[in-house]
Amino acid sequence: MKKKLLALVLAATMAVGMAGCGAGSDTGAAAENDAPQATGEATSDLNVMIETAVESLDPQQATDGTSFEVIADYTDGLMQMDAEGNPVNALAESYEVSEDGCTYTFKIRDDANWSNGDPVTANDFVFAWQRAVDPAVASEYAYMLSDIGQVANAAEIIAGEKDKSELGVVAVDEKTLEVTLNVPVSYFLSLMYFPTFYPVNEAFFNECGDTFATSPETVLSNGAFVLDSYEPAATAFHLTKNEDYYDAARVSLTGLSYQVIQDSQTALMSYQTGDLDITLVNGDQVDQVEDDPEFDSIGAGYLWYVTPNIKAVKELANLNIRTALTLAINREAITTDVLKDGSLPTYTAIPRDFAADFAADQEQFSDFCRDDATAAAEYWQAGLDELGITELSLELVADEDDAPAKVATVLKDQWETALPGLTINITTEPKKQRVQDLQDGNYELGLTRWGPDYDDPMTYLGMWYTDNSNNYGFWSNSEYDAIIDECTTGELCTKIDERRTRLYDAEQLVMEDAVIFPIYTAANAQMVSSSVSGIEFHPVALNRVYKNTTKN
């Protein structure tokens, strides 16, 4: 009987297989015809995998990394990033900073042109920046000009108190742009490569109207590549080298071919067949590819941390309890055994390899933050005694995505093992809801992340300022607020070294009070073909830059 069944199953498989071959043979010829064409392209176009589609090609509306990357492929700003992420001249031929640090005068290159032949002018920047703060445009990144860039009148215009024409940016003449700031901003030049600050050709924009930046016909290029196939939310699109680019000699790729792939298995297989030159791999696939020399891990800048709700949960208002929780985390185990994607254990409130390596010394707060379950248990006991309880149950909320859900499970395990009497209940939610719950203060412990907006520690430290909307735990410390004030709008803005020292002081306050439990600095595990070199990776603003990329 068994034999008969086996024979049947075998026959069935063969039949299915044969049916498949039959269907395949008609079309197999066509597929083969396509093959030479595909490889012909591959010699010079870079085939790039992205996980999500472009959300917007409008530089003043875009907010996500993918959109920024693509916009920057075909648009230059005043500055661009060098391989280390420092700002170097792009459209700006030269610039001057006034003595008080509040006025920047940029000279725009004479040979910079839009792809319709118009020269890039100072007015293109004035128009774009005014759009960015225009309440009618409602740009999500308007705060890059106001809070972060401190461009004069930006905040008032966003609030609707002044007209956008009063923004502190004027075209002195066709090629001279003058920017006025409220206070000196030490990192202002590094904002100039952020796409919100990119120019838009006003006449062209008005011609396009509502359709601006929705197709190759409705975008203008002034950068290394020209968009030649695209539609909104496209899963595949293409850019060709811009022969009229002022720096065209430096660009060796003939084009960029983007492919959105959401399924990680499909992405890896496509990479292995050579359809892709660069692809992301997820944590589960790392074991399979980690010995491959083409496997690499690139810092993504995101800091993942747990925020305790200090205001609403009285047990978490106890410093010993909080210190116990942060000490009880085994960050090494999380990055090496769980994530495996090259993420780095982090013991500082600023992520690693960021802002001129501000967090280079991971030991500096080791009194309050390290992997030490034994010490954790002591703090824990002290905290329980102070509270007069023996048991504590806390809820940990996390995104339902793969990595955060896994990390939450491990945290629960580590905490419950190290801290007797503690019970952790995990709630996983869609990210949108998790963010809402944290912002509303409707949580006990929250696993969250923060990506840097600009190349300065303030992009993190600004969060724990009293009443900042991302200060989820509602922590408040007047000494801390004073340091932040001093370093953003006060006298330290221009004194770079002193400012840095004070920022460490601020970070120390956050760490010793265990306002956040830093866990790891995220990394992207990826495969990059060995025939490709010179892709520049950055944790902030533009994650990947292809201007100097070569492919053999």
């Binding site: 079309t27 597929a31 309440p135 999500e140 595949a236 399924d263 809402q436």
Partner: protein, 311 residues
Amino acid sequence: MKKYVLKRVLTSIFTLLAIVLVLFILMQLMPGSPFNDEKLSDDQRAVLYAKYGLDQPIVVQFGHYVVNMLKGDFGVSYNISKNTPISQLIQTRLPISINIGFFAVALGTLVGLILGLIAALKRDTFLDSLCTIISVIGVSVPSYVFALALSFTFGFKWRIFPMLYNSADALNSSVMPSVALSMFTMATIARFTRSEMIEVLGSEYMLFAESKGLSNHALIFKHALRNALIPIITVLAPLVVDLMTGSLVVEKIFAIPGVGSLLVNAIQSNDYNVVIALSFIYSALYIFIMLVVDILYGVIDPRIRLGKESN
């Protein structure tokens, strides 16, 4: 017949309006909002809400939406493709999904019918068991498993079909997703055809037809299959819905720029307008198919048509 069709069409329209209302309420109940990214301040969120009219009472929003929808305006996307009109977003994607879905239904139905027929006519033989095994596999294995298996063998190993959808080569690109999607339909149709055919073949009118000396061919195709088709058409409509849900995952695996992947992304990012528009289109398609099925009953079996008309 005309009156019957008209009545069905009117009911469909009201059903669709009710669906829009339900979708609207569901969107309101959905946790989070399109604009609660951690990078947004309260003021900015207020500005965005005002810009898109989301600060209005839900009744007003619903009114606006229905009025605009009747004009063919489904609004704009909030975040998966900022400020792009939904109609533009769907325009190129819907035909791709419908094509693949159509191939899948056609392939599944055809192969399913053949398998079912063979199984019924060669009842209790080796062929019958073979067909049964195929249909059990088809019903129990989800379409994305087939998709991955096909992608791995025909795409990755043998390179017969492209692993990634290529709009320049739509026909070849559609083969694997269509086959993966068709498995469930095929299996279900095969099982139904088999049992219906066995029942019909054993009925007295078949015995009568046979005793009249009709040819085997006429017996099976004119008498037996036609009667067996009615219950099969009934299952076809819900199967089409399974195709839609299956396509959500299959589109992801083959990176197909269809509406399924769009819907998944829209739901995850609370892009209300996209979710409502796509759910509406899915509902409209489903209702349309039900309508067609109802009318088909009448064509295949005159008794149904007469029965309804006399009411």
